[in-house]
């Protein structure tokens, strides 16, 4: 069996069986890297009874480390608690590059810190936009500054996200690459027979019904569109705290037959819901990228979206109608979308999406980032500490102390359990 070119450890608190954009990204990227001949291992926390080692499609090895999540799927931050297990996994899998995902993952930050202490190459991908002004964001940005002060390369999913990450973390922009997300165009295809738009126009909304995803905007927009266009109906998929507001809106305006609420839609059924519609409506108040509109465009739907974050970078101008996150502007955008709907060809849209976005392309670009990271020179502890001092008057000194203690703990672990005592795990190939 040929030796893999690179051996990558993906670390994040967010992976299957939990479902979302980050989880999907890690999975698809890992599968494409495996097909390119690299070895990929994923490390995440345990989900309920799912702990230990599991193998997924293509031989993707996943370590569900039995550290319980404590808040919003994040592992309890112990700073040094994960050092022994991270060290064990890095040695037994002979990892060369550690790739952390998502700024909001404590396991990711701890693993990156330990990996840098042990001299491994480290890459970080940021998937979301964060603020600057509120207390939570200020603390998060400080942690990010610490975590990213010493990494080799970073990846962001849009130019807006790159700007946001650079401002929050103080990273030099030359170290940050922009690699967009992609969509599985084989799974998201238009319907064989498109529903006719002559009698009824269906607008589909699929998102979590939370404030951040603009559920309050929907409450204002839907009744107004239904009043202006008697032939329009809405299909709303997803669940969340704002579900109650939407139900109240339906009752108040008697829209039970015009607005269908599907509740939570499993990802495997999203395509079957999308192909029943003509227009996809996204009302998010903030988005680093928005994979949902990619999926809708791949299914041949015309998209109406709020002009926020990285959304304008995702689709060509003839596939999307953008609006400010304001109910009146969104209604105008929907009117424009309805008027240009007859000129939309779903198959042509799908074919264009196939050329624009693919996970294979994302994997090849990520490979270039890994190669760049491997070419970075290895700095000793003193040189690395000088980078942390620039993080702040007090914070810099605290960060230096944290790294020194981490280094000493690593050396102590090496005394108690030398590297040679950790047995390397064999690479197991699966028959296809």
């Amino acid at each position: 069996m040929a030796e893999p070119k690179l051996r990558v450890l993906m670390v994040s608190d967010f992976f299957f069986p939990n479902f979302g954009g980050v989880e999907n990204h890690i999975y698809y990227l890992s599968q494409c890297l495996l097909k390119l001949g690299h070895k990929v291992v994923v490390m995440t926390h345990a989900y309920g009874n799912r702990t230990g080692v599991r193998y997924m499609t293509g031989g993707l090895k996943v370590y569900y480390v039995p550290w319980r999540p404590f808040a919003m799927q994040n592992t309890f931050p112990t700073v040094y608690g994960t050092l022994p297990i991270v060290r064990t996994i890095l040695i037994r899998e002979r990892i060369t590059v550690v790739h952390g995902h998502q700024a909001f993952s404590t396991l990711c930050h701890e693993a990156l810190m330990h990996a840098r202490t042990m001299g491994y190459r480290v890459v970080f991908t940021d998937h979301s936009l964060y603020g600057f002004a509120d207390v939570g964001s200020i603390h998060m940005n400080k942690v990010l500054q610490f975590s990213l002060a010493d990494i080799d390369q970073a990846i962001c999913v849009s130019h807006t996200s790159k700007e946001n990450t650079v401002l929050r973390s103080g990273l030099p922009p030359a170290k940050v690459f922009m690699i967009p997300n992609a969509v599985d165009t084989a799974m998201f295809r238009p319907a064989d027979v498109r529903p006719s738009a002559d009698v009824v126009i269906t607008i589909v909304v699929i998102s979590r019904l939370v404030y951040r995803k603009g559920a309050d905007l929907l409450v204002e927009v839907i009744p107004e569109v239904c009043r202006l266009y008697p032939n329009v109906r809405f299909v709303v998929g997803g669940d969340g705290p704002k579900h109650v507001r939407l139900e109240e809106m339906r009752e108040k305006h008697s829209l039970q037959d015009r607005v269908e609420m599907l509740g939570a839609v499993p990802h495997s059924r999203v395509r079957s819901v999308l192909v029943t519609g003509h227009i996809f409506l996204n009302s998010s108040l903030t988005e680093a990228f928005c994979i949902a509109i990619l999926e809708a465009a791949s299914c041949g739907l015309l998209t109406v979206s709020t002009r926020v974050g990285g959304v304008p970078e995702v689709l060509p101008d003839d596939m999307v109608v953008l609006a400010e996150p304001d109910p009146d502007d969104m209604v105008r955008a929907i009117e424009k979308a309805i008027s240009i709907l007859p000129s939309i060809n779903p198959e042509e849209m799908h074919n264009r999406m196939k050329k624009l976005y693919s996970w294979q392309d994302v994997a090849k670009r990520t490979e270039i980032v890994y190669d760049r990271a491997l070419k970075c020179s290895n700095r000793n502890l003193l040189e690395r500490l000088s980078r942390f001092l620039s993080c702040g008057a007090w914070a810099g000194k605290v960060f230096c102390m944290v790294m020194i203690i981490d280094y000493l703990l690593w050396r102590l672990l090496q005394l108690l359990q030398p590297d040679d005592d950790i047995e390397e795990a064999p690479d197991i190939n699966f028959l296809h």
């Binding site: 370590y63 039995p66 022994p84 297990i85 040679d420 047995e423 795990a425 064999p426």
Partner: protein
């Protein structure tokens, strides 16, 4: 076969005769196990000495020292009795397997498992909050949990593979499946 921590010994009545009893021993190297107990004993001694100096008679350090030595010695003795010296797997074809654990004190705990009860022996990677290691387990009929072949010791994969192969041969798992798995286990 020997490593820093364990020694593996394979006893077989006859290499060629089918139906011969097959015995596999894994012995822990003494210096490692007793060294660990001594370290724990020393830590215990220091804690007791410190606590007694602080809380109890500060004026009589000799009595504190002697009580601390006595308690630590008692602690080391209790721990040593539980220390495992050797674990063995005795494979009796068509009959069953016997798992034995022998402690330093000489006490031996055995468990016999009839051949009909064993569905499959498996090599499993166990993940704890601080480490990850290989273990050989048996999937038994009617039991939800795996049964560990080596309960206390953690021998390396190189030592576990020949035992796993011997168990598979005896249990009569499909040979072609075994050969395929062997080819792809590298390292």
């Amino acid at each position: 076969m020997a490593s820093k921590r364990y020694t593996y010994i394979h006893e077989s009545e006859s290499e060629t005769r089918r139906g011969a009893i097959d015995i596999h021993h894994v012995i822990i190297n003494r210096s490692r196990s007793t060294g660990y107990t001594r370290l724990m004993g020393l830590a215990f001694f220091l804690v007791i000495l410190g606590a007694s100096m602080y809380f109890l008679e500060k004026d009589n350090p000799v009595r504190n020292l002697s009580w601390s030595c006595l308690l630590s010695g008692f602690f080391i003795m209790i721990q040593s009795r539980k220390l495992v010296k050797k674990e063995s797997v005795i494979i009796m074809p068509t009959f069953g397997i016997q798992l034995e654990t022998q402690c330093l004190s000489g006490k031996t705990v055995s468990r016999f498992i009839p051949i009909g009860k064993i569905l499959k022996p498996v090599l499993v990677e166990c993940v704890t909050p601080v480490t990850c290691y290989w273990s050989l387990s048996l999937y038994l009929r009617g039991e939800e949990q795996f049964t560990l072949v080596f309960k206390e010791l953690r021998p390396s994969l190189k030592m576990l593979v020949p035992i796993w192969k011997a168990l598979c041969t005896v249990i009569g798992t499909d040979q072609s499946e075994m050969i395929t798995e062997e080819k792809h286990v590298s390292g």
